[in-house]
């Protein structure tokens, strides 16, 4: 690096007088001899002088008025803007907001998981309902249709228990007036009324069950094995040879219904109700603190 380069590299310090006296005299000695460096330093000083001498530009007269309006607009932000800032702009907020959101999600998920499956079903829409074939409004006749219900299942360990749907389990159902006879089904009016009136099963959200399984014996054994764990007991077992089916009468606590269906669904397709036949099982009844229900095991057709 030539001496000229060294000198030009020290223009800033020389101009501001922040060099020691020895360096300063050395630089000025050089510039006395070197016209080029002298001229360059002069231009440098002029440039600094020109920069410092730039006129101050005045803001427009309405600057404060416009700024005031702008600040007003900023101050009166909507709660949506606030939320946006909370989650996007402020550097420290996304974490607490995210944590709170996560906590809410976990809380909702936990409460849903803890809710009995039957309750879930009751709160959901009713896919199958007890239907009235013809409604009577203002004197028209009513013929109650056979009651239908479906159990939907979600398989696998830890899955939700089968959800049970029945419009009759809804206590707010407005029941129509029941005629004495129902021409289509041939049922008596009393039978039809019996089918329509809310039963214990409807109130509890439970029903008799039919397990359609290729190995009904195994399924029945499973039932007997799991009942003690569910605080349930077998009351009676019937083999109905004519219909090639087994009928088991059990008592279980009402809250064990979900677990029961969850266990049985691994051994066959489950349908609600225990069939009609010659000696149809009675509707589910309350028995002390438990419910009395029939479980029918049949082979598939």
């Amino acid at each position: 690096m030539s001496e000229c380069d060294q000198i030009s590299g020290m223009f800033l310090e020389l101009h501001e007088g922040s060099v020691d006296s020895e360096t300063r005299s050395r630089c000025y000695d050089h510039m006395n001899k070197c016209s080029c460096c002298r001229e360059e330093f002069q231009w440098y000083s002029d440039a600094v002088k020109a920069l410092a001498g730039l006129e101050r530009v005045s803001p427009p007269r309405d600057f404060m008025v416009h700024l005031d309006r702008r600040l007003d607009a900023v101050s009166s932000r909507s709660w949506l803007d606030f939320l946006k800032d909370l989650t996007l702009t402020a550097p420290r907020m996304p974490l607490p907001a995210g944590m709170a959101a996560l906590f809410c999600i976990v809380l909702i998920g936990y409460s849903l998981f803890r809710q009995p499956p039957v309750e879930l079903a009751r709160h959901s829409e009713t896919p199958v309902s007890a239907e009235v074939a013809t409604a009577e409004e203002g004197g028209k006749s009513i013929a109650p249709a056979p009651r239908r219900a479906t159990i939907t299942t979600m398989g696998g360990d830890g899955a939700l228990a089968p959800a049970y749907y029945s419009s009759l389990s809804n206590p707010s159902t407005n029941l129509p007036r029941i005629p004495l006879t129902t021409p289509e089904s041939g049922m008596s009016g009393a039978q039809a009324a019996h089918n329509l009136l809310p039963t214990v099963a409807d109130r509890l959200g439970a029903d008799n069950l039919t397990v359609v399984s290729s190995r009904p014996e195994e399924a029945q054994e499973l039932l007997k094995r799991i009942l003690p764990g569910l605080q349930g007991t077998v009351v009676r077992e019937d083999l109905r040879p004519s219909a090639r089916e087994r009928l088991v009468r059990i008592i279980i606590p009402p809250d064990a219904y979900g677990s029961l269906t969850r266990a049985l669904v691994d051994h066959g397709e489950i349908e609600s109700g225990a069939g009609a036949g010659v000696d149809p099982p009675k509707p589910v009844q309350e028995q002390g603190n438990g419910i009395l229900l029939y479980v029918r095991f049949v082979k598939p057709q």
């Binding site: 730039l54 803001p59 427009p60």
Partner: protein, 219 residues
């Protein structure tokens, strides 16, 4: 494995020194501290006092960044709006003015880059009368003297502003803060989060660019 007594003693000494330093630390004296406190508590009038105090300097700084009055007006308002919105985050570790000019510099630099990307300065081009500059005096004129000198002074101002417009953003901000606004190297280093040495070397390079531009036009 247990540390040796010397290590423990050394650690204790270090903690003691840190505690002593912490106890002697006093935040920088700030004449705006009380006003800022009132602002944070929601007093809008207090903020207006601060605006009143600084808006001319901020506007001038904005103008030097963008070289246009209308853009400078918008930029200066943007700077104050940002300061108003972020005032709660101002922790008082530096002076309010330093913090405000830090916001201004950042916003100014960003606006300059944005305008440059959009070809704003290219479209503006060299200002009118480039040919007339041939007759400009070599010496920087004294703007308080006769009309001719005044006109020459205006022309020089225009050339210098153009030279500033041509600077790299990192050089430009230092020239504006040091040579135009008159901040100390220490303040500039704090505002830009740079070592003082880097600040000085950038300033030197920036001045050399302005010098070359002046030399080219005036000689």
């Amino acid at each position: 494995m247990l540390a040796s007594p010397e290590t423990i003693l050394g650690g204790l000494c270090l903690i003691l020194v840190n505690l002593l330093l912490a106890s002697t630390y006093r935040p920088e004296e700030d004449e705006d501290r009380e006003t800022v406190k009132e602002c944070v508590e929601g007093n809008r009038d207090a903020f207006n006092i601060l605006v009143e105090k600084y808006y001319r300097r901020i506007y001038n700084l904005a103008y030097r960044f963008v070289g246009d009055q209308e853009e400078a007006n918008d930029l200066a308002q943007d700077i104050f709006t940002a300061a108003y919105q972020n005032l709660k985050r101002f922790r008082g570790e530096s002076k309010f003015s330093t913090w405000l000019f830090q916001i201004a510099t950042n916003r100014g630099k960003n606006r300059f880059k944005y305008l440059k990307r959009r070809g704003y300065f290219a479209n503006k081009g060299p200002s009118d009368g480039d040919e007339d500059r041939e007759g400009l005096p070599r010496e920087l004129p004294d703007s308080t003297s006769n009309p001719e000198d005044l006109l020459a002074g205006k022309e020089i101002q225009k050339i210098v502003q153009e030279a500033i417009d041509d600077l790299e953003p990192d050089h430009k901000e230092i020239v504006i803060l040091r040579d135009i606004e008159g901040f100390s190297y220490e303040e500039i280093a704090r505002m830009l989060n740079l070592p003082e040495g880097t600040t000085k070397s950038r300033l030197h390079r920036a001045r050399m660019v302005v010098k070359e531009k002046l030399k080219k036009v005036l000689s």
